[in-house]
Structure formats: C-alpha cells, structure tokens
C-alpha cells in the first residue's frame, strides 16, 4: 500500500513540515489584521434624556489600536468582537483587557498553533464514491505538530 503524508495548517496542505511552518510564519500580520476586523470599539455618549442609554455613532469608532488607550481615558465605549458578548458601556481600561482576552481566544479557537500531519493511503487522493472509505488493513494516522510561529498581541 502506497502512502502519502501531508502537513495541513489553516486548511492549506503542504508536502513538508518546513513549508507549513514557513506559511504560518508569513501569515502572522494577516491574522492580526483579521482579528482586528472582527472587533468594533466605539466611544459612546450618555443620552441624558433616557435612563441608562448611550448614543452610538460610527463617527466615533476607534481607529487606533485599543492597547494604545490611556488607562485613565474618561470616555465610555461600546465593545464587541465576533464571539464575545456586547459590552456597553465599558471603560478604556476594560476595553484594553477585553481586547487582549479576545485576541488570545481568537488564536486558540482557530487552531493556529497546530499543524496536522496526516499519513494515509495514496489511492484516497483520487478515489470516488464507495472507494473513498478505508478497506481492511488500511489506516489514516493523524498527528498534531507544534506551529513555531509567534502570534504576538498588538
């Protein structure tokens, strides 16, 4: 039985581990940008005419990185990242904490730190219909390798 070994990182398949590691290392900045795009931080104003209400305007969307907010910034914010709760209102200090936590969650959930090594019968690459399932004596072995790329917050 002829076998094939593949290395998969973020859905991209390579024939060597080195190529998978290189792809991960070159994708660090893109992944940080992708994360930022999942988040919305907007400075809000209290609506003094209504109880516990806040005025939300996209004109007040934060354009700088949340880590650069001053801890004692007096403004209140609306904070949301894909997969997080909506937070309204929160302080600048809380925004910084939440944003960092969501970045760590994002990295963990996307399995970015893992490369999957799969060894399987080569015939599966072109098999169709019922031949796609394993026959007696065939096996697929999957291993998880550590991705060396560093995804640093900020």
């Amino acid at each position: 039985m002829t076998k094939t070994t593949t290395y998969t990182w973020q859905g991209k398949v390579f024939d060597t581990e080195a190529k998978a590691q290189e792809e991960a290392s070159s994708s660090v900045s893109k992944i940080q940008k992708d994360f930022s795009n999942t988040c919305s931080v907007i400075a809000v104003e209290t609506d003094i005419k209504k109880y516990s209400a806040f005025i939300i305007s996209q004109a007040n969307r934060l354009t700088s990185h949340p880590k650069d907010l001053s801890d004692d910034d007096p403004r209140k914010f609306s904070f949301y990242c894909q997969g997080s709760d909506n937070h309204l209102p929160v302080s600048a200090l809380k925004v910084k904490t939440l944003h960092r936590e969501e970045f760590d969650n994002y990295i963990n959930k996307k399995n970015i730190k893992k490369i999957q090594k799969s060894t399987f019968p080569t015939r599966l690459l072109t098999a169709k219909d019922e031949d796609e399932t394993l026959k007696n004596g065939e096996e697929i072995v999957d291993e998880i390798l550590f991705c060396k790329a560093e995804f640093i917050y900020g």
Partner: protein, 278 residues
C-alpha cells in the same frame, strides 16, 4: 375640576403618539410571533413600538432584516426576541435582526429580552458534506420556523453498505456540519435563545468529522481534515460566523443584531445582544 381635566389633556398631548404593541400572527408552537416588519406599518414619526415578552419577531429569509426601523425618532421597546434568519448550510451569511434607516432612533432592549443576528452557515466539506445551518433555522430547505426548539439531528445513514456521517447532534445554536457522502445533510440551525452548541458530527470509514454548531454568539467549529478529505464546518450560533471546513474555507458571516447604516442611534441594553450593533 376643569383646570384638572385640562392639565391631564395637556400632559397627554405633549407626550407624543401612544405606544403601539405589535400584534401576533398565527401562533407557532403556542408562541406569539410575526415575521419581518417595518416599523412604519405600526407607528409614525416619534412613535413607540413595543415587542411583548416571549414574542418572537423573525424573518423568512436572510435577505430581509427582521425589523426595519424606517421612522424618524422611533423608539423600539423590546421585551421579547428579535432574531435574524440563520444562513443556509454551505456558507451563506446570516440575516440581520434590526435595520435602522430612520434618524434619531432609540432601541431599548429590556431585561430578559434578546436581539440576535442569524448565525452564519457552515462551509461545505469535501466530498459532499454540507455544513451546519446557522442559528435561526439556517437550512437550504427550511422555510418555516420551529420557534422555541433546538436544532434537530440530521440523519445518519449508509450508502451502498458504506457508512457516512450525517450532521448529527445539531444544537440549539448552530447545526453541526457533515462529512457525508451524497446525499448527506447537515443539521439546520435551532430556534432557541440563548441556545447551546452541538457536538461534532462523527466521521466514519476514515472520514474526518464535521464541525460542531456554535452556541449563541460563538462561531461554529472547523471541520476536521484527514486523508485528503475535509469535513464541513458547523453552523454559527446567534450572531456568529459559520465554521470553516477542514480545508480552511470560511463559513458564512453572522448577521448583525443591529445594522445602523451609518445612522446615529441610542441603545439602552439590559437584556442580551448577539452580533454586531453597528
């Protein structure tokens, strides 16, 4: 006495138009509900529209937002559930819950109430495994809502004696993906708030697993990859993206809780919101 009566009348006229409670359509699963509406059907400028407790405001299609607030100065007082439609399996985006096109709008989401975008559909795997539907009934074939109920299990089955895995165990949030040989199917999304996620759809015969459906606010998980094949992604929970397939192709985006279209608005939230609010 005349003065007293005059004062009362004066107070009433200065308070603006009366609040209107949205009427129910035919009950579904004994729940009051109505599908997508425009606020202008019920109120004029400066009016207040009330969604009662346990009332479901939903949409038949991801193309349509569930509630379009097309009245200037309107106040929407939500005590129930305003939800967008879930994206269909295969990676379709979820629908928005509220679409603001008027100016000076106020959204009040009361304690115990929900505003939730539809979940995105999970991405299709290879070969032929459909993703899970997003929370909010996401499914290519589902047209009527099963309000108050979780995502049903998609069937397991076999084909010419070879087992495939259907999208089993769809949760109350997004449905699980599938790694099925044709004609497998992923689970459609559920209609429960907040809703739990499902477990992975198991892989058989060397097939990778299908991703789990996401719980409310959480993305469906990515399908597995093994032996040159890759599983489908799970459906997204309320307001969250569908899961990627095992190859990394992303699922459908989650619908917004509130699309403001660039309009400034006021939000008072004592309840729960799933999905973006701008």
């Amino acid at each position: 006495m005349t003065g007293f009566g005059f004062n009362i009348l004066g107070f009433g006229s200065s308070a603006g138009p009366p609040a209107v409670e949205i009427p129910t359509d035919t009950l579904i699963n004994n729940l009051q509900n109505r599908s997508q509406i425009s606020a202008s059907t019920y109120i004029g400028n400066g009016g207040t529209l009330i969604i009662p407790a346990n009332f479901w405001l939903w949409s038949t299609n991801t193309t349509y937002s569930t509630l379009t607030v097309d009245v200037d100065g309107a106040t929407i007082e939500n005590n129930g559930n305003i939800v967008g439609r879930g994206g269909a399996a295969g990676g379709s985006p979820g629908g928005n819950a509220i679409n603001i096109t008027g100016s000076g709008v106020t959204i009040i989401n009361a304690s115990g109430a929900y505003i939730a975008g539809g979940g995105g559909g999970g991405r299709t795997g290879n070969p032929n495994g459909p993703g899970g539907g997003g929370a909010g009934g996401g499914s290519a074939s589902a047209s009527s809502p099963d309000l108050g109920n979780p995502s049903p299990n998609a069937p397991d089955g076999n084909w010419s004696g070879y087992y495939y895995s259907g999208g089993r165990g769809g949760g109350a949030g997004g449905g699980a993906g599938s790694t099925a040989l044709s004609p497998g199917s992923g689970a459609k999304g559920g209609w429960v708030l907040p809703g739990s996620g499902s477990s992975n759809a198991p892989g058989y015969g060397g097939y990778p697993y299908g991703g789990a459906g996401g719980s409310a606010g959480n993305q469906g998980t990515q399908g597995g990859a093994s032996g040159g094949r890759y599983g489908a992604g799970g459906g997204g929970g309320w307001g969250a993206n569908g899961g990627s397939n095992g190859q990394g192709t992303t699922g459908g985006t989650g619908g917004k809780a509130i699309e403001d279209n660039g309009n400034t608005y006021t939000l008072s939230n004592s309840g729960t919101i799933y999905g973006a609010t701008t």
